[in-house]
Symmetry: C3
């Protein structure tokens, strides 16, 4: 019994099967078929392998980013000059990948909690009856729920300002506006300084430190490249594309905006650090590319509601026992540093998968040629006989082997 199995195994190893084939000597089919096979071959080798690098695995990077601004600016408001240094104009302070550089502002000093009249001209009243206590909103549109004014204000500052607080029910005769319970005096942001107060921001510089890890390959890279002299360099798209120090004015220009315009209302800009690495080459060729673009959808959406970037920042202090705050409406450049890293490296699995599916596609070529051979050519019946051997067998009937098969009646 054992020797039988051993025999079977040895027989198995001494044989091998290979398909029998018909070599069809036909000009038309031959040329068509060889061309199809050639195209498939060129596609697999040229495109999938060489162009798309189908023999490589890809890995996405994990990155971390730190930023640091440098520069001092001066702004003159009502004849008083103010110094603005990094600690004053960058939000938040700790060097995040996403931060805001103030370029313009509206400062409201000495606010404290209390009751005060709304801004003149917008929430006007004749008598206390026009200011219903507890209402959040009034204006040209009549009454609103407590919700809608906020929404309206978001999209259309012109369409009616929301109140700065709840109405107390009093109409202040001096300003002819309703009194609200809020931080007083209320901020007046109807007029935005133009040109921007901190135009000096154009020359501020941004230093970006970025390190990325490709966990699959165990490779770590940093954007601080040895050959770049950090002491002297400033990023330039052609001359210093690897320098990680950027002039704010350059960033704005390279994202297609005008600094002077953007500085007034603020804006959002993305800095994309793109690492596309091929680790079949030396890792020193794995270098970052910096791209700059505005963060505002495509053209169809551009409207007043989607440009501009502002937020409010308050500094609190105690004046004796009274809590006060300095409110700043900050307009600025919001900069998002985004890291995108893709690395590729040779790997046996995608290579064999690509070859395997290439062989599969090769089979498709044969199928197409066979269709031509068996259904299109005038001599198709002849080729059918060449290609196929028919068995006529049924459990009831005796076995018949037909090497030169009897043609089926419906075929001839």
């Amino acid at each position: 019994m054992r020797s039988n199995i051993a025999d079977a195994i040895s027989t198995f190893f001494l044989e091998y099967e290979t398909p029998r084939q018909v070599v069809v000597k036909n000009r038309r089919v031959g040329v068509v078929c060889r061309l199809i096979q050639l195209i498939v071959l060129v596609y697999i080798i040229g495109w999938v392998f060489i162009y798309e690098k189908g023999y490589q695995v890809t890995d996405k990077a994990i990155g971390s980013v730190y930023t640091k601004m440098k520069g001092v600016g001066y702004a003159k408001v009502n004849g008083v000059q103010r110094v603005w240094d990094v600690d004053d104009y960058v939000f938040p302070e700790q060097g995040d990948a996403s931060f805001v550089v103030m370029t313009n502002y509206i400062m409201t000093m000495g606010q404290q909690q209390g009751n005060c009249p709304e801004l003149p001209g917008k929430h006007s009243c004749q008598s206390d009856e026009d200011c219903e206590e507890g209402d959040y909103r009034r204006g040209g549109h009549g009454k609103f729920t407590t919700l809608s004014p906020n929404l309206q204000a978001e999209s259309s500052p012109e369409g009616g300002f929301p109140l700065h607080g709840m109405l107390t029910g009093k109409c202040v005769s001096e300003t002819k506006t309703c009194e609200v319970s809020a931080w007083c005096p209320v901020e007046n942001d109807l007029v935005v300084p133009d040109p921007a107060l901190l135009m000096a921001a154009e020359n501020f510089t941004l230093f970006i430190k970025n390190s990325i890890t490709f966990p699959m390959f165990g490779i770590v890279r940093s954007n601080l490249v040895k050959r770049v002299n950090l002491r002297k360099c400033v990023f330039h798209e052609d001359e210093a594309p690897l320098c990680p120090i950027f002039r704010l004015g350059d960033i704005v220009r390279l994202s297609g905006f005008n600094f002077q315009e953007l500085a007034v209302q603020g804006g959002a800009i993305g800095i994309l650090i793109d690492w596309t690495c091929d680790f079949d080459w030396d890792r020193k060729h794995c270098l970052p590319k910096y791209n700059f673009h505005g963060l505002y959808g495509d053209g169809e959406l551009m409207s007043n509601s989607s440009v501009g970037y502002n937020f409010r920042s308050a500094k609190y202090y105690m004046d004796g026992t009274t809590e006060k705050r300095t409110l700043m409406k900050v307009f600025g450049l919001r900069i998002d540093v985004v890291v995108q890293g893709v690395a590729r490296k040779f790997d046996i699995i995608p290579t064999l998968t690509t070859i395997g599916s290439g062989v599969g596609i090769f089979g498709v070529a044969t199928v197409v040629c066979d269709l031509v051979l068996l259904y299109v050519l005038p001599k198709r019946d002849f080729y059918k006989n060449m290609k196929f051997k028919y068995t006529i067998i049924d459990e009831e009937k005796p076995v018949l082997q037909m090497d030169k098969p009897v043609m089926d009646s419906d075929k001839e």
Copy 2:
């Protein structure tokens, strides 16, 4: 010589090989085999191609998010009413994708550095001997290293409070508690206000601006859709699913929580902006979907230690030459706006790879049928003869071609 090669090439191009096949006319095998082939075909065309869209490449989006809250709230503590506007209740101020909206708080005013007794009832002492100088912790559990009290406090406020600072070695007779060196007076957060002080937050609104880029396709999209009127809309899951303005109360409700409960201890909620786009269609169909969910693992983990969200925020000021601070324990909704974008588009490579591996699977069908034919059917030997042609060849022996092979003795 040249003409020989040319001849070989021309011969090569005028021929083509196609496998010779046996057509087995057998009801059982035929039906089985055709069915398997049909299933494979349906699988490849129906599932892989049409359902899973195997003819498309996918690309992940890079997104950026800005947020803006609106709304004013009022809180009454000890009969004094306080206004809370956006600058007061949102942390951080600059409109990040991840931020906290305060809904409840414990305020400790006028803290300054010094020595003061601990909270009554928790760190009690009879004499100075109970308060060993330099100790960080005491209580029911006896002494601890400087490390463990912090950990205990994290998970079990009930299990013994950590001290607010290092013991000075004195027992304060008025409170019968040890004296600590800390910011004084120490915060008393044993009782959390319930209902939450800023229940008005339910009506605050959140505006989300989100733009995404699909780098592979060079397409940029924004969630500010033209057809949505930002002046009037409020997000509603059925009626206004594209409006990017959200009521805080709705966000909480849609993530399956109760605002009143959540507001007291705080909580964490994720807003997932889901972009699933098919760029074989017009890009205007590429629209965001908003999903809301609590950020707390699955049910098995729900316990007291994993709910609630709070942190402390301090406002520093100078009282003469003394540095003081107002400490706030802030309970609130932490909102994380996460963007997930996947786009698909027709591409020749996945198409051909899918076809190629489909043809490969077709081959599997034939293999299965052959196994049935050659090893299961009663007439298997007959089919073996049909399918295989045997050569008996060995280097020593003369070549023998056996068109009708002599059966091997171990087979018959």
Copy 3:
């Protein structure tokens, strides 16, 4: 007509084609071919299926992270002791995934806007002529544009300090340095305290709450595992690898740094929470792994310019009507908590794709063996005759079927 089609269909379903094959009984080719087939089989089953789990789909996780520090530190500067609690030493306050723990600082109290002399020794002058009004920079290198000083300062504090503001044109005789318009007095950060002032930070603890979602599988996981007792545990790489509470000193040690050194100049550390889950098993096996590493590229880049982490933080207050600020240069550990989650689960599509491309690779084995058989072996012509059947056909000539083909003259 209908019955004809029905006949054709029924005929189609009762037949099936299988390729005719030659069984080549040759020791050498047989062994070579079987070995190649065996290798392919082992590769497909062993490597692609079992090792690489080619039968599974993968999904990337969406994660959210909250952090909370605990601990109180004391620092003695000029004989005065200061308490530092969480609210003082963590930036930002709200528990982000990326935050800074202060370990060292330089505090400049009572700054106000005005004119004051630059730091002694660095920007020295003999007379007003050495201090040109409006200049931003002077020193050993002569004059610079307003830009370059910032850059230089970034990379080389030794190479010449930038000015703290614009020169007023005056040379202050007491300090022999130029006067600048800036926040005064200017910060003196020439000497960094060593050892670090807040060495106590080594014992501070960090609590990380992390929940992840695998959207494709609809599974949510949290790092708060039931079996871990949050009251008592501290992370230890061997003994408590699931405890989400970390000693800061341990974090630094596990990332390969020395706390004492790092604390002085600060540094950046990444905590990678790695979820690699196989949902073919119970989801309770899906647990996080914590990895710690410095965030500084690879060795080739290590230089003075890439280590250290600092930023400035200012606290503003009003002294009467004068705005003042306390400036802190904060040196600290920047901790980035990064979540990486990959889950796998059985899916029919990758399974069949893998099988399909495996069958394709099997085809490659046959092709290789055929090449050996038909071009290398001495009896190659005999095998050619076995494998191929030739047709000699041309549209002009009569059809000739040649079962035992006439050998081509160029072959024999």
